[in-house]
Point group: C2
Chain length 198, copies 2
Amino acid sequence: MGRPIAFDPQEKLHIAMKLFWERGYEATSMQQLVQALGINRFSLYNCYGDKESLFQLALDHYFKTVIRRLIDPLLKENADIYGVIGYLQLLQTAMTGKGSRWGCFVQNAGIERGLHDQQTQQRVDDWYLQLETLIRNGLQRTAEAGRLRERVQPDLAARYIVTALQGIIAMRRSSTDDQRYADSLSFLISEVEDWVLN
Amino acid sequence: MGRPIAFDPQEKLHIAMKLFWERGYEATSMQQLVQALGINRFSLYNCYGDKESLFQLALDHYFKTVIRRLIDPLLKENADIYGVIGYLQLLQTAMTGKGSRWGCFVQNAGIERGLHDQQTQQRVDDWYLQLETLIRNGLQRTAEAGRLRERVQPDLAARYIVTALQGIIAMRRSSTDDQRYADSLSFLISEVEDWVLN
DNA sequence: CTTGTTCTTGACTGATCGTTTAGGAATATT
DNA sequence: AATATTCCTAAACGATCAGTCAAGAACAAG
């Protein structure tokens, strides 16, 4: 009962996410959000709470939409090393193009706020762990099938991929030279491809 | 002539650098700087200009002090792959300890401000290029001495090291798990050590 | 239609933002 | 000692910050 909400909270949250993603937490003002979302200041507070909680909602939304799509190859049942490669290739296409110099919202949030905001820190840590686990499982399955190079240890290799990816993503956002991230990502992909036998 | 300055600008700049390094540009207020530096508000403006220029001065100071010390092994005349390894080892010790979870000021600045501040972007780009060049030269010298593994191409390998390092540094700041960055850095060092023959 | 509930609106809160001003204090030069 | 120059101090500037309030508008239930 009562007056129904006049906007789509999910759609507006998506806009807020993009703003935080591009500009970061501190550099994004509630005024900018009000304008970008096209809803009233009070409606914004009424729907999402204060700036802090809106930021966390935006981060969660990022996981559910952007990241969810990217890790799809890793979520398939019995995903093996080709799931890992599929994930890397999705990342590659996602990072291509001039409009995609925002890096990863999770990494940005972690670097800007991890040290001083425990909620953000928790989400970042969870994400690193989840990604590492998914990748390790993929490598493990290929190893069990006897198709992974002996010298490649799934746990160390998975950890290595996660860290290397952070470097590539950081380069995507912080360097104007598109060749840097692209070269490194291609290098990483061919490295992983080289781990599979036959 | 006139009244002499009552504080050491370099010493105060060092404090400002640490504040920006830890908290970033937006999250550091002039009020905090006034308190941390222990000088008057106007003296701060009089000596360093506005917040923007103070930030750039702090970034330059970071290059001259922190980074300068770390790349010392790479600046030695005829530095080869051992200069690269020496640099990585200096980084390793610098990143160890609980008080050193700030990552790299240059990377932080690039991620927070690169997209919207051209001055910062220029400094970040310059740094990536300089580091890559120094490392490439080191690898090149070892290659010319016939002591670098054939498959290692100095230009690609140098670029790879720079990107991988960004990942390690990003991990240092954004993850609470100290094992992540440490594992990856050890992995990178032994990888580079493996490139040298005999 | 009436009543109760919820959303929307625009103005407004005190606090803090980066920056500047005016006046006094301290030093170098004459 | 007188003067010129520079720095220091405290107060204040307008702007913007995140967040809130009171009143009215829009719907659901009776």
